[in-house]
Amino acid sequence: MNELISNILYAIVMNYLINGPVTQNIMAHFMEKMGEKTDSGGHSVFLGQVRADEINGKKVKAIEYSAYGAMVKVEADKIKETILLQFGDVRSIDIVHSTGIVKAGEISLFVLVSAGHRHQAIQACSKAVELIKEKLPVWKKEIFEDDSHEWKH
């Protein structure tokens, strides 16, 4: 991996946010690291994808995300602490959230939880996703095929 890519990935790991979709390359980066932890027995991954919903006859073509970056960092750090305290078997938690435009069919949220055993990996990942939805200062508007938009709450 060249230095530029490695720096970009480091920024994602530290700040949780990426401009645009969470690509296959980014996911592969996190998933390649899994094998380094040979005391892990299970990994649970959640991927949030932009859905091409149809709302009042108009189809969603993308979602535009905005985020309060500094507070995302604070809150995501807290989520990781909370999970590690509650689930003693969890070894690591990775969170990546998109900002900007993410098209229908693309991934906007990636959560990877590694644990010694499967139950804690699965439960902790599920809990992390709920906390992300509840606590991360992120906003989204759905953009329709006719370029009109609607804010989602």
Partner: protein
């Protein structure tokens, strides 16, 4: 003293701005009135305040250099 106010989500859209500075504002309650004077449309929206990256539920005093944000309900994921 001067503080920085950030507008997020639909509030950035309806106010037409991401960021505005306010001077001589003593508390969140005080600031809320000043913002409503500048952007009357914000009263139609549901939002919370944060102060220096922490959500606040009370009405703290503000200090020079503070960063306040108006945050509609979160919608990440």
């Amino acid at each position: 003293m001067e503080i920085k106010v950030l507008f997020f989500g639909v509030l950035a859209e309806v106010t037409g701005t991401n960021c505005k500075h306010y001077r001589e504002v003593r508390s969140i309650g005080d600031l809320k009135h000043r913002i409503q004077d500048d952007f009357p449309e914000v009263v139609h929206y549901n939002y919370r305040f944060s102060l220096n990256d922490e959500i606040i539920n009370n009405d703290p005093k503000l200090n020079d250099g503070d960063e306040v944000a108006l945050m509609p309900p979160f919608a990440g994921g």
